[in-house]
Amino acid sequence: MKRNIVIIGAGAIGRGYLPIVLDNNKYNFFFIDQNRKILGLLKKKKYYFTYIIKNNSYIKKKILIKSALHINQLDQLKIKDLSLCFLCIGPRNIKNIIFFLKKINTPIIVCENDPETVHEIKKIIKNKKVFFAVPDVITSNTSPKKLLKKDKLSIVSEDGELFVEKGPKIFGQIKFLQKKDLLKIQWTAKLYLHNTPHCIAAYLGSIINVKYIHEAMQNEFIRKIVEGSMNEMLKSLKLNWDISHNFLEWYAQKEISRFKNILLFDPISRVAREPLRKLEINGRLIGAAQLCLYNGVFPNNILKGIVSAFMFENHNDTDNHIELLQNSMCPEQFNKYILGLRSGEPLDLLLKDRLNQIRKELILLKKFKINEKY
């Protein structure tokens, strides 16, 4: 008899990637989301296709759906029949489902790009069976037009790897690691060699108004900044951690090829969303620049990435007020109150010194879509 898995968050990782690695013969999938349009389609069709990129082509996989519910209907789930719960709804949305997590007694696997979330959940729900997971993959939350024509729910993913903290029993293609190794190697590499350049590519891409990451990477000016920021992180990580340099080099190269992958259709709106979260003090942009400065690496390209995040405009984004904050605060105040930098610390001084110059460069990029010339 199949066991039941609830996947909270039917986006890129939840719908696109987890059903690829989890054993479909052993599990029924229950999807929970806030997007009524997606839920409507999931309920109606009872299946969808996910496409895995292998050897430059798509491999189709049909995923059967047991049930799809709105986040407000979580209490309708029969808790005693659940064997696992995966979280991939974004760290900011966790508070909306805490009541449900308190009720269940199954292992909870947190795929939230933030190990702090695991501590927070454990503390609140007083359940020790909460585990961190690092999906080392890029999954789009959509697919190219030709695939969407066949199935509106289709989604494209790379052939990645799912690393989970040792503890829960899960059937599928999963690599279990001790927590310290997971955090030290996989999470560090993911945060700085994936998240940092990935979101920089997205913010720069949004400036030239392209839709997907691979389109942004086709712009020479952007590609150089993204590769430059990758090199800055690579140098810093080599100086800061005793992680194999070969592994770091391999990881960095793999990531750059992922960003350029023309089959992936990774939407900029997804990667660039919630810029204020991405500008958090210990996060992928500010934290990355701080790490560089700490190790004596000048974060020239990461600074450009940070300023491009300030300039992100998307009226549908939760953090769309970043524009208002930028327009109403001087750089000194923005650095103090929004970025949490101490007045006079190196990154504060650097940002104040470089802000206008970088902004001018990026405005030129926007205006003329400058390319090879730079």
Binding site: L276, L324, L325, S328, Y337, I338, S343
Partner: protein, 260 residues
């Protein structure tokens, strides 16, 4: 966040944060005079910030009510007006305690609609928008409702405490995790919005102490009860539903008339 009040909000943020620079510049600050009790003091920083805020807000052509400026009582009949408190918690400020705030609020149709409060020594600034969202340092805030037994309560007390107020303080202190008198009403209310406190209350507080912060608390999802005592003064209870209800119940002896 496109809405009709965008420009007003921008102005609010800009002016409040610029005013906070006067404090961070750490120029010499002297107590100039007292307005009554030894706690109601005015420093040259109060006056400097007051002047700066008034100059900035004048451009909006909306009348301004300030703690530090004599204003005609007719202002309370206006449909819309700014309410400013250059330094809420001046006694704390001159004694190097970080609990003080710069506060601006907008009263529209007798409602506290917009607010911006800066706590410079805590590196915090709060504002709300007219689409009912409140932010701390740019991050959306949402009050989480808790029971009074799991609550810290912020209290604003008068310079001269009555026995009844002390009795109430004791009761609430025993019902909750504790009552704190921080010396800054707007800070109490903002900290209630972000759940550092679960509720706060005050009697006969001045409108400039609460105007900005209550707008922020309302947009964060706090329950708010207000009883207007005069044009300038009011009683308030703000915070989690259960805590507000309990404080109201306990304070029946002191509060006459209906809360809105």
């Amino acid at each position: 966040m496109k809405n009709t009040n965008d420009n007003l909000i921008k102005k609010l943020i800009k002016i409040t944060l610029e005013a906070s620079k006067i404090i961070s510049d750490k120029k010499q600050n002297d107590v100039l005079y007292s307005k009554g009790s030894k706690r109601e003091i005015v420093t040259n920083h109060d006056l400097e910030i007051n002047k700066f805020l008034i100059k900035g807000l004048k451009k909006t052509k909306i009348p301004i009510l300030s703690e530090e400026k004599k204003t005609s009582n007719l202002i309370y009949n206006k449909k819309i007006f700014w309410v400013i408190d250059p330094i809420d918690g001046t006694v704390n400020y001159i004694n190097n305690s970080p609990n003080f705030a710069i506060s601006i609020g907008l009263v529209n149709n007798k409602k506290f609609t917009l607010g911006c409060v800066c706590l410079p020594a805590h590196s915090q600034f709060y504002f709300n928008t007219n689409n009912e969202k409140s932010y701390l340092n740019g991050n959306l805030i949402k009050h989480e409702h808790k029971k009074i037994s799991n609550s810290l309560i912020g209290v604003s007390l008068n310079s001269f405490l009555s026995d009844k107020e002390m009795m109430l303080f004791k009761k609430i202190n025993n019902l909750s995790l504790g009552c704190l008198r921080t010396g800054s009403t707007s800070m109490n209310i903002c900290w209630t919005a972000i759940n550092r406190f679960q509720a706060s209350y005050g009697f006969n507080v001045k409108i400039w102490d609460v105007a900005g912060a209550l707008a922020i608390a309302r947009s964060s999802g706090c329950k708010i009860l207000i009883k207007q005592n005069s044009d300038k003064t009011l009683n308030f209870i703000v915070g989690s539903n259960n805590a507000v209800k309990e404080i109201l119940k306990q304070s029946k002896k002191f509060i006459y008339g209906k809360y809105n």
